[in-house]
Symmetry: D2
Amino acid sequence: MDYRAVLEEVAATARSAAGVGRVAEYIPALAAADPTAFGFAVADLGGQGGVDGVGDWEAPFSIQSVSKVFTLALVLAADGEGLWARVGKEPSGSPFNSLAQLERDRGVPRNPFVNAGALVVTDRLQDLTGDASSALRDFLRAESGDPRVDFDRGIAASELRHGHRNAALAHLLADHDRLANRVRTVLHHYYLQCSITMNCRTLALAARFLARHGLRADGTRLLTRSEAKRVNAVMLVGGTYDEAGEFAHRVGLPAKSGVGGGILAVVPGRCTLCAWGPALDPHGNSTAALAALDAFTTLTGWSVF
Amino acid sequence: MDYRAVLEEVAATARSAAGVGRVAEYIPALAAADPTAFGFAVADLGGQGGVDGVGDWEAPFSIQSVSKVFTLALVLAADGEGLWARVGKEPSGSPFNSLAQLERDRGVPRNPFVNAGALVVTDRLQDLTGDASSALRDFLRAESGDPRVDFDRGIAASELRHGHRNAALAHLLADHDRLANRVRTVLHHYYLQCSITMNCRTLALAARFLARHGLRADGTRLLTRSEAKRVNAVMLVGGTYDEAGEFAHRVGLPAKSGVGGGILAVVPGRCTLCAWGPALDPHGNSTAALAALDAFTTLTGWSVF
Amino acid sequence: MDYRAVLEEVAATARSAAGVGRVAEYIPALAAADPTAFGFAVADLGGQGGVDGVGDWEAPFSIQSVSKVFTLALVLAADGEGLWARVGKEPSGSPFNSLAQLERDRGVPRNPFVNAGALVVTDRLQDLTGDASSALRDFLRAESGDPRVDFDRGIAASELRHGHRNAALAHLLADHDRLANRVRTVLHHYYLQCSITMNCRTLALAARFLARHGLRADGTRLLTRSEAKRVNAVMLVGGTYDEAGEFAHRVGLPAKSGVGGGILAVVPGRCTLCAWGPALDPHGNSTAALAALDAFTTLTGWSVF
Amino acid sequence: MDYRAVLEEVAATARSAAGVGRVAEYIPALAAADPTAFGFAVADLGGQGGVDGVGDWEAPFSIQSVSKVFTLALVLAADGEGLWARVGKEPSGSPFNSLAQLERDRGVPRNPFVNAGALVVTDRLQDLTGDASSALRDFLRAESGDPRVDFDRGIAASELRHGHRNAALAHLLADHDRLANRVRTVLHHYYLQCSITMNCRTLALAARFLARHGLRADGTRLLTRSEAKRVNAVMLVGGTYDEAGEFAHRVGLPAKSGVGGGILAVVPGRCTLCAWGPALDPHGNSTAALAALDAFTTLTGWSVF
């Protein structure tokens, strides 16, 4: 399929939304982003498998919570269904950093994409690998084919300094004996993972195993078909903060967003998409990326519904 | 496609689950159901469009909350997106009959499938038609082709007598000026809708417009393609009580369940499914129906993910 | 003691607060009150027991939730400690009409002064007397010595029409099997009780049994010394909505307020006080009455602390 | 007054309750306490002011949360009413270590006796003194006249190691910019304060300023009469965890309890009481101390109600 015409139309639509909303401002490095930037990439599985994009699709940004879908996949690959004893798979109905939910459910996060859930996943990945953040970085390098994928240690340090809420979540998990590693170790790796810098092109490439029912770039299997389906299901019900219903409504694809402005989406069996724009709506999702994905599914009819 | 082999295997799997769990006991008419009953139907869109089934697929049961997907469609058909100002489309993260959520959100239910949301939809349908329950019954007769589809007035009366929690929800909605009709009127029609008696065959047939992107049985359009997609999206994130994530995980289809033991599911562009078994899991979903749908998607690979 | 000088000074202070805040507007009869009205009465136990007042201390007003302290006393007089199995005695930490609290605690209200708790008390009083509202009226007539104390049936009817939130609370209680009588019966008597019209003079007189450690006006015993102490304790921790801490802080007396603008307070062993002003602060307590009681305890040093 | 007969009767009653319940077990030093120990002291203001006691009234125990009433007094003495902008004075309606309440109220604790509130008070005392824990220790030495009052650094270190929930509270406060000092500094002083070891005799002596309307042991004024009254009011509505209503009901005195098993109570204008027994009821209050205070007020009639 020739995506050029679609990409141009997606870009035209999304640019009118770019700049609407507010750039994440809780740390200086994110606050400095250009709110009108916009990029979009599609990584196809058909034929020889190519990737194409439009706008600032090769401009680097902080992947932030998009990292959570990859750490989940790495833990599922090792543990299978065992993970679900420690973290739920239900939509949260609460903000992504809610302490009330975690307290009510005695330290079992609603799903792996709320911050508490991702801390549990990182804790487990640390057990499995001895270095949770390097494990993620190496995986992303391999899947994207780009050896330059790396942490932004300045961002990680800045997040740690301002990260009292995540520290509160981690201590509450520890209070319920839900962490195998020390709170500071888990936070260290969590922030490094969030700080990884990629672009629309490399993120779309790195996620193709989700569209390919679990097969990695080199043809080996990361996840069973069933596990890959399940990651997509969790993305659909919980990947876009407390706007998951609205996102399913408008876009209708499994997706994961981050406060760096990126949104990764999956069209199972067909392709992966990555849209980016730093300005966020009140729920923390990029307005431009949301508009772009909406336009893409409308033009192609490739919603799952 | 020849469904016979699939149906037989689905039945074999589901029967081992039938009877696990507890029949709804809050009113005598539901409590009397045989917990080991099981039925399953598939209504295809391909070729001439046929329907086939297995087990007790023509045994009548109370559709209960499965009715909510049809009343939602009828209101969307008339109002379009206007409805979403009165009811959300996010997963609830709370039990289906939670007063706390409704109080916190000042009378705006999280989605049209929690009880409060369905009361708002019924209130609106009453405004549009003057007789919300007859409007639903007539629609179900037309789509299923079965003129015998009707209310069970004994069940409706029994529900009303025991329905203090729904009355509390309706009064709380009224307290926030969210109802145009009187509380008693809304409850009257709500319970009649829930009391409608159908079977797997007729329910699967009646829902084909959701698989057909909005087209009714007679070829006319009920919903736009976009609206039909949106109903499916809401079903996926909120159609199976607070087990939506688990259901998406296991089955991966838009679905709506009821405490009568029925679960209706949609394979967009392909077919509709209706599974039934009266024994419920702790979340209120039929254990046999869930097992049947799980088996069906595993055998066919027809999850949306 | 000669209260004249104190009364004059209390009045001077309170009048500067009178009119600050908003008159209750949820029903027309309350909304029509003069926000600048103010009255204050003290009913002494010493010597021959006299009552004196200042301002509009004989102007009639709707006692509203002040009624709750009398219904509580009547039920305790009959049941003793048995009541506490059905209703708690802890401060609520939530608004007086919270459904979330009642849902979380499975139909056991936090204390007898939140609306749900008063509905439970009324339900029990109905069982004990066969006519809960007349029982209260007759008691208030006897204690105040004023046979004109009576219901305002117009107000009661108006409250019932607008009382969706109380109806929601009552149905939620019924859903948890916490009411022995029908929802409509309980609400009927509840609203009649709230509608009773009295003035500062008669309310202060009627409550003297709480200052007299349980002895009624005619010298017979209504409550044991221990029970009377306990009613005062519940008033202190829960008598002024979710401002109980602030009230204890400023005034330091057991008290019960109503949205009609009245606040009844007890100085154990010494006297009762009733202050009134229709304009309410954001918590629902009369600003003028609060200022008056604050001034009174400052001038006399008669806080319990 | 001669307290001997009262003390003997109190002891007889309380000993039958001693051992009922469970000793705090979250750190080894507390878990090792003898559950059947019991002590009671009364420090009179009349005449020359004496102190007497019964049982293990000179056995040392960890004062734990009883410390909160003294740190509150020290901050009020310096800041007056300014503190109440940072912490409320309402009963909590939630457990003493609830994160949900703190999250809902955006970092403003309900009162100074829930853990989050005490952390805010300690943070302020640190600003005022440069060494919050030494300031408290020195004050307790001066008021009790016992220079041996000191920290138990082993207990403080043990609490810090197990104190993930308090760390979560402190980080959540910091997330809302409610702390002037670093999280670790505040926790350090908080745990030292809780670790102070005293006995019934010295605690009752140290608190006499609350019964004396603000006057210290040396006759100087710590608090204004109004401030002293307000500390007593906060103790009554929030001093005994989420059992404040029950405590007011049974005992009817301002009081503060700790998980070390001590309960300090105030009879304004007359005396202070300290009861101790390590076994706790499910709310965290000592069963023996509660029984002792109940017996004392019943025998003397010295409730505030």
